[in-house]
Symmetry: C2
Subunit: 474 residues, 2 copies
């Protein structure tokens, strides 16, 4: 599933949507965005540019291709998009942020109220916890992100602690619950996440209203988005409508079941109970080569290898680069801006003389002495993939055509239950990128039944069989 957005959408269709859905603040809802619109978009209702990798039409999930990740600040229109549900209708003027729970004076704040608080800018790298999930073996259910569910922006807003203080502060709270206004698909539980109080009150945790100097675009959480810098992206709740100071853990799906990571390393393919997992927090040490590009054809001679490395709340102290597939390594220079929670630029000048294909890797180390491993920890949700990054370049010859290991999505036999019960909420693209065992499909189907998919007990077995035969492990 490596479909790219192409500019084939008819103009009339584009115009129609431009009328009803304006980009950015104040835009109407992006409900049930039809696949044709995503596939045909140039600059339209999503505010995203052509060339992004559409990972799912419903929910809207865009990956940034590596060629658009070579700048320290990722342009808004190229920034990756991860949503679990549908974007809400947004009217920034009327937006109200509820601040309640264990606070002295619960209140509702407008965007203007937020702008009246001291403004803070934080330059932070956001990465989806599932970035790189496609590389895990055995495969894991979920959006099959490869390299580009990551980006860096300058976020501006009010400190979250100032927002809590505006409601009188809290003496008893241990956590802050954060609720987004995402509109669930089917019976999906509402999107509520929590952050421990210490991180919530950190001076760099903010309720942002600007992304790279612009009002936050609709798909990035307009008008208000929490930014929890250094932690995996799902903490940075979009379309923020409620902050609850709480003295206990939230028990909803997005805290109690999702975005959890095993307390102990497990065997690949193991099933792990939620109780044996804890919420994710910081990101893993990781690097990405943004120059040259994978598959590039280069003349023999000197080449600059460059990219970014990040480690969540830790500081990058070293990046090594290999031009022989990881048999030998050399230290790269660390350059460019230094921000506590943002990626760090690395550059390395190499000489590639031999006219053949060269496999280039990057491997980062952080200030705790932690280095990217050869084999990242497999975990049941496929989070925090952080093997050394790898590209192949062709020197001194005609560029060769590589075969993408992930097959394109071919039409195949359909199934009445799938069409009726599954395609209500999402398209076939989401199913077609999975490579799951019958047990794995069974777990996904059961989750969907809990979320409202209308599958009878009699239909469950044949549906799982259909899914596993069509999109199974190979």
């Amino acid at each position: 599933m490596r479909s790219r957005i192409n500019p084939s959408m008819p103009v009339s269709r584009r115009a129609l949507f431009a009328l009803s859905v304006r980009a950015g603040i104040g835009a109407a809802a992006l409900t049930m965005l039809p696949r044709e619109v995503l596939g045909g978009l140039q600059v339209g209702p999503t505010g995203k540019r052509a060339g992004l990798l559409a990972r799912s039409a419903r929910p809207v999930d865009f990956e940034t291709p590596v060629e658009l990740l070579d700048s320290f600040i990722t342009p808004n229109e190229a920034f990756f998009v991860r949503g679990h549900m549908t974007a809400p209708a947004v009217d920034a003027q009327a937006w109200q942020l509820q601040v309640d729970g264990e606070v002295r004076t619960p209140r509702a704040l407008s965007v203007a109220d937020l702008r009246a608080l001291p403004a803070v800018s934080v330059t932070a790298t956001l990465e989806c916890a599932g970035n790189g999930r496609a590389f895990f073996d055995p495969p894991v259910a979920g959006i099959q992100w490869r390299k580009g569910a990551v980006g860096t922006s300058r976020w501006t807003g009010a400190r979250l602690r100032d927002v809590i203080a505006a409601a009188g502060g809290s003496a008893a709270a241990t956590h802050v619950w954060m609720a987004g206004a995402d509109r669930p698909l089917g019976a999906q539980p509402p999107f509520v996440r929590q952050v421990p109080l210490a991180k919530a009150l950190d001076a760099d945790t903010i309720v942002a209203y600007e992304m790279d100097g612009q009002p936050i675009p609709l798909l990035h959480g307009a008008p208000l988005r929490v930014i929890v810098p250094g932690w995996e992206g799902a903490y940075s709740v979009k379309w923020l409508q409620r902050l609850t100071a709480a003295s206990k853990e939230h028990d909803g799906f997005w805290v109690a079941s999702a975005y959890r990571y095993p307390t102990k390393r497990v065997l690949p393919g193991a099933t792990v109970a939620a109780a044996d997992q804890v919420p994710l927090s910081g990101l893993a040490v990781k690097s990405l080569i943004t120059r040259p590009l994978d598959g590039a054809a280069l003349p023999p001679g000197r080449v600059q290898i460059a990219g970014f490395a990040w480690a969540g709340e830790s500081r990058i102290t070293r990046v090594d680069v290999s031009t022989d597939g990881g048999a030998s390594w050399a230290a790269a220079r660390l350059t460019g801006p230094v921000h506590k929670f943002a990626w760090r630029r690395f550059e390395h000048d190499a000489v590639l003389k031999q006219p053949e294909v060269h496999t280039i890797l990057s491997r980062a180390t952080d200030d705790r002495g932690v280095t990217q491993p050869v084999v990242p920890r497999w975990n049941p949700s496929g989070y925090l993939w952080n093997a050394p990054d790898r590209i192949d370049v062709s020197v001194g010859g005609v560029a060769q055509t590589a075969v993408t290991p992930v097959a394109s999505h071919e039409p195949g036999p359909s199934n009445a239950v799938f069409d009726r019960a599954c395609r209500v909420c999402h398209d076939e693209d989401l199913s077609a990128q999975q490579r799951l065992t019958p047990d794995g499909w069974g777990r996904e189907v059961d989750k969907m039944i809990r979320w409202g998919a209308r599958v009878t007990p009699e239909e469950r077995g044949p549906l799982v069989e259909f899914l596993a035969s069509r999109w199974g492990v190979r």
Copy 2:
């Protein structure tokens, strides 16, 4: 496709085959060995022990599981078997080795003639060039060997140079062609390989008649097998029936098309013409952890990690072991016997305290300073896989069940052309382990048509479509 031999074969059936096919020298042909016999074998006509991994019934291909590779000498009954065709009928008393071509006095030698020449013993590690093919991405056609198409034995026989000398020697030869008596399936070209003169005349290149002190067993090439130590296994031609001193390159399939490796590194998935490839020779630097076993449950505390490392004609100088998935490494001890062309034992004492799963890797370096890479060179035939070896062990808890990433072979829709044209020579097991694109299947089908598969031009397209839909890339 990780089927194991099970002892379910009825005794009567076993007895029947024991009558017609005796193990070792003098046994009758193992023609068209039915799958049931392979699947049900304990110690029978193949001379192999239970527990081997049957990769194919026709041709007979056995992989040694790692638990049987912990000894310096691999027992004959556990040694991996790679054949392209069917073993011939063998009568050791009547066997004649023709020595001809650019020699002064072409002649035929009996096994007794060979035994009359000075006897030499060479302890050598043999590895199939395709060992580890299953790990390449994108997938490559062929037997999907994982770790165990490797083993070490003590081979005894006459020097190949003494055999050539017995035919008067050769002034003009540049190569020696080596022909096996394998019986082709369909119209497969006869199995002829060649070795350059210098390697052929090396003091350690022999025509062996014993394997670990026993007459060479039938499936290992009885009664005579060339041993070309340090080079990939297909040079060590089994059932040797002819040696031809030649002043030019052999132009048969097994030299001109197969067992070739690109002169330049290529992009993964690339197609490379045979002219841009050269015959393989030595093996890549590589290591295998044989203790503990993958998936083992261990008490917390000290554990000895041990295994073997080899590098073809090069000497192993260093093995490093990681217990954290390759983030950090420590040097292992090199111990045990030292033979020029045999693997070297390594041992490392580690302390694994945390009750969780630990990912252990081994990484060897040879006397040329070459280290196992993180990313082995992809090549169109999937040869010489040599990433660091990896196991996962569970410390201080109940052993967890890991899911094998390769799915078992499920029955599925059949196809009349496949049944008629393909299953004449091999079983479905061989097809079911492939994961090929339609183009990849097209190339395989075309090769098989050249080898006699009766597929009409009209049938080719639908057959390729069937194969790609049933056993395609995911």
